[in-house]
Symmetry: none
Amino acid sequence: MPMAVDWRSGAPGYRQVIDDIVDQIKAGKLRPGDKLPSTRELTAHYGVSETVIRMAMVELKARQFLIGQKGKGVYVATLD
Amino acid sequence: MPMAVDWRSGAPGYRQVIDDIVDQIKAGKLRPGDKLPSTRELTAHYGVSETVIRMAMVELKARQFLIGQKGKGVYVATLD
Amino acid sequence: MPMAVDWRSGAPGYRQVIDDIVDQIKAGKLRPGDKLPSTRELTAHYGVSETVIRMAMVELKARQFLIGQKGKGVYVATLD
Amino acid sequence: MPMAVDWRSGAPGYRQVIDDIVDQIKAGKLRPGDKLPSTRELTAHYGVSETVIRMAMVELKARQFLIGQKGKGVYVATLD
DNA sequence: GTGGTCTAGACCACC
DNA sequence: GTGGTCTAGACCACA
């Protein structure tokens, strides 16, 4: 679980964020229904801008790993 | 007459509340002098937080559709 | 031109914000097409939370004094 | 520190609430700058209605023991 | 980094 | 118990 994005790898920052979160879900560290840290906290954790976090969120929601609830937070999706 | 805000439509919740109430007034379902349900009941009816209802009220009062009376209720405005 | 909302007056903060902006428009200090300070700057200027500024914006847009453009800014409306 | 108002004493409920809070301030259990429990919690604590708590608050603020901050809470006043 | 929308939950004035 | 006002802080769309 990297504390920050590794810029030397060449991979886009948001890709690394996506992979890290997907890994955590698959490893069971993040479980269905869990609330993710706030966007602001994630920017600090990964050392990237809010835009990078948002791009990662767009994909993770499209892939149905996460569900955003306005004004509340972002949650790990539960199985249908 | 929608029972609740439709989040899929993309339209802001408070806009849907405004439109729904204006429609009811124009359709004569709500008539001048009528008392609206309490703010708390409206939150339940539309499935939104009180702030959303309040923002709708701010606009509806600015547009002179409604008149609020503290401690009593919100009423449909009478014609000038 | 008040620097901040006056809580002693009894008037709601958002009403004071509305009146101050309307006054500035009517006095020609804010002219059609002018860009307002950012929402965050206005909160600092008036000493209120963002919600108070937003409630003022809802009414000022309903009354067609202002036009908001997402990602750009809020502008004084031009005459019809 | 009574958990609830004693209705047998004949003293108005709000008087007992006032006295209890003043006692706690004088005894140093509540200190300048401390935040009081929310109104809702106080109603539960003293076993009285919100109106009774509000009446107590009106007097305690008039006597400058407490200071209310809208949207935040009620605080024990600091010395001038 | 801007505007926009929303939740949650305080206190306040009035009936 | 009603409406009214406010704080704090989320996420979201756009540039």
